[in-house]
C-alpha cells in the first residue's frame, strides 16, 4: 500500500516525521484528510487535532494553527506549536482556558477579542486531545 511522507515542523523543532497512510488535519475550511497521491495543496490550519494514521494505529497531535502543504512527494505541516498527545501539559492548558474565558467575559468588545478567542480555541483543542488519549488508554 502506498504511503506518504509527513513532516510536522514547529518553529523550535521537528515534532514528527514518518511515512504514513493518511493524515487528517484541522483546516480553516474544515477537517481535511490527505491520502497518498493527493493533489498539491496549501492551506492554513486552525487549532485542533492532527491525526496521523499508520498501519492501523493512530497518532494524535495537537496543533495551534499553522499551515499544511501537500507536495507531490510529501506533506509538510508548518505548525505554530505542535505537541504529541502525551506531551500536553493538562494543568497549563486548563489554566489557559480559564484565563481566556475570563478575559472574554470581562471585555466583550475588546480589540484583543480575536486573540483571546484563538487562545481559547488552542486550550480547548489541547484538552480535547489529552482527554481522548487518556480515555483510550484506559480501555
Amino acid at each position: 500500500m502506498a504511503t506518504i511522507r509527513v513532516e510536522v515542523v514547529a518553529v523550535e523543532r521537528v515534532v514528527y516525521a514518518d511515512d504514513v497512510d493518511a493524515v487528517i488535519a484541522p483546516g480553516v475550511g474544515g477537517q481535511l484528510g490527505i491520502l497518498p497521491h493527493h493533489a498539491p495543496l496549501m492551506t492554513a490550519l486552525t487549532a485542533g487535532e492532527l491525526r496521523i494514521k499508520k498501519g492501523g494505529e493512530e497518532e494524535v497531535l495537537v496543533v495551534s494553527g499553522g499551515f499544511l502543504e501537500v507536495r507531490p512527494d510529501k506533506v509538510i505541516v508548518l505548525a505554530d506549536a505542535a505537541e504529541r498527545a502525551e506531551e500536553i501539559d493538562i494543568a497549563r492548558a486548563e489554566e489557559a482556558k480559564r484565563r481566556a474565558e475570563q478575559r472574554l467575559a470581562e471585555h466583550a468588545a475588546d480589540v484583543d477579542t480575536a486573540r483571546n478567542e484563538a487562545a481559547l480555541r488552542r486550550a480547548i483543542a489541547r484538552l480535547a486531545v489529552a482527554e481522548r488519549v487518556k480515555t483510550r488508554r484506559r480501555l
Binding site: 518553529v11 523543532r13 521537528v14 496549501m42 492554513a44 499551515f67
Partner: protein, 286 residues
C-alpha cells in the same frame, strides 16, 4: 623592587581571577553549544517557510499584501539585538560601531530613525548616541522560546501595518563560527522573499485562497526571522565570551608564572643577604 609579601598577594589575587575566568569559559562553552543546537533545530522550519513564501510571493496578487508592499521611506526603525551583558570581548564594541555607522548613513539621508533595542548593552549605547529609542526589551535570557520573542515581532509588524514606519531593519550579530561573529544589518520589512528558484513547478490548490494563506504566513515569517536573529545573537555572545575568557585565563596563567619567578628570585636574594650578614657577623667575632 616589590617586597616578597606584595608579590605573594598579587599571585593569590590573580589565581582567584583565573578561577573565575576559567569557570566563565566553561559555562559559556556549554551555553554556546545549546544555543547552536537551538539554531540548528529551527533550521527545518526556516527552510520550509522560506520556500513557501518564495512560491507565494511569485504570484501576481502577492504584491498587494501590506507586508510585501514597498513604500517611500519616510521613517524607519531598527531592531537592534545585543547581549544584556559584557565580558564578551569585542562583540559589543563591534556591534555598536556597526550600528553607529548605519545610523550615521541614515542621518545623511535625512530619514528619521527610531530604535527598538533588545538587550541592555545596545540600549545603553543607542541612548547615549541620542537616538530615539521607542522600545526596549531586556532579559530575554539564554534560551528564549519563540513565545518569548513574539512581543518584539508583534510590535514591529503592528508599527509597519499602521504606517508608523516604512521600513524596518534588523541589526544583530551573525554567528559565523566560534571565532568569528559578524555584525549585520539587514532589512526585515517589507519582506524580501528569497529568490529561490521554484523547486517544483506545481500548481497548488490554495485554501481558502492564495492571498489569505500568504496573509497568515507572512507574520509568521517575520516572527521566525526575529527569533532566528535572537538565537544567532545568543550563540555569538556565548562564543565571544568563551574565547575572551579563554584568553583571560591564559594571560592570567602567564602572569602567575612571571610573578612566581620574580617571587622566587626575591626570596633567594633575601636569603643570600641574610646569609651574608651571618657570615659577616661570624667573621667579625672571630
Amino acid at each position: 623592587m616589590a617586597s616578597i609579601r606584595t608579590i605573594r598577594r598579587r599571585i593569590r589575587g590573580i589565581k582567584n581571577i583565573v578561577k573565575i575566568t576559567r569557570a566563565m569559559e566553561m559555562v559559556a562553552a556549554s551555553k554556546m553549544r545549546r544555543a547552536q543546537e537551538r539554531s540548528l533545530a529551527a533550521r527545518p522550519y526556516a527552510e520550509k517557510i522560506e520556500q513557501v513564501v518564495a512560491d507565494l510571493a511569485a504570484l501576481p496578487e502577492s504584491g498587494l499584501h501590506p507586508l510585501l508592499q514597498r513604500r517611500p521611506v519616510e521613517r524607519m526603525t531598527v531592531v537592534y539585538i545585543t547581549p544584556d551583558r559584557g565580558l564578551c570581548g569585542g562583540l559589543n564594541a563591534n556591534l555598536n560601531r556597526r550600528i553607529a555607522s548605519f545610523l550615521a548613513e541614515q542621518a545623511g539621508q535625512k530619514v528619521p530613525v527610531s530604535v527598538i533595542s533588545v538587550g541592555r548593552k545596545g540600549r545603553d549605547f543607542v541612548a547615549r548616541c541620542g537616538v530615539n529609542v521607542c522600545a526596549f526589551f531586556t532579559r530575554i535570557g539564554d534560551k528564549p522560546s519563540l513565545i518569548d520573542t513574539l512581543p518584539i515581532s508583534r510590535m514591529v509588524i503592528d508599527e509597519y501595518e499602521n504606517n508608523v514606519v516604512d521600513v524596518v531593519y534588523l541589526a544583530y550579530s551573525q554567528f559565523v563560527s566560534t571565532a568569528v561573529q559578524r555584525p549585520v544589518v539587514r532589512q526585515l520589512l517589507p519582506v524580501q522573499p528569497a529568490r529561490i528558484p521554484k523547486a517544483q513547478n506545481v500548481d497548488y490548490i490554495y485554501e481558502p485562497d492564495a492571498f489569505e494563506v500568504l496573509g497568515a504566513l507572512l507574520p509568521r515569517y517575520v516572527e521566525r526571522e526575529v527569533y532566528e536573529a535572537i538565537l544567532e545573537s545568543i550563540a555569538s555572545e556565548q562564543s565571544a565570551r568563551m574565547v575572551a575568557m579563554r584568553n583571560a585565563t591564559e594571560n592570567g596563567n602567564e602572569l602567575i608564572q612571571e610573578l612566581t619567578m620574580l617571587y622566587n628570585k626575591a626570596r633567594q636574594e633575601s636569603i643570600t643577604k641574610e646569609l651574608l650578614d651571618i657570615v659577616g657577623g661570624a667573621a667579625a667575632l672571630s
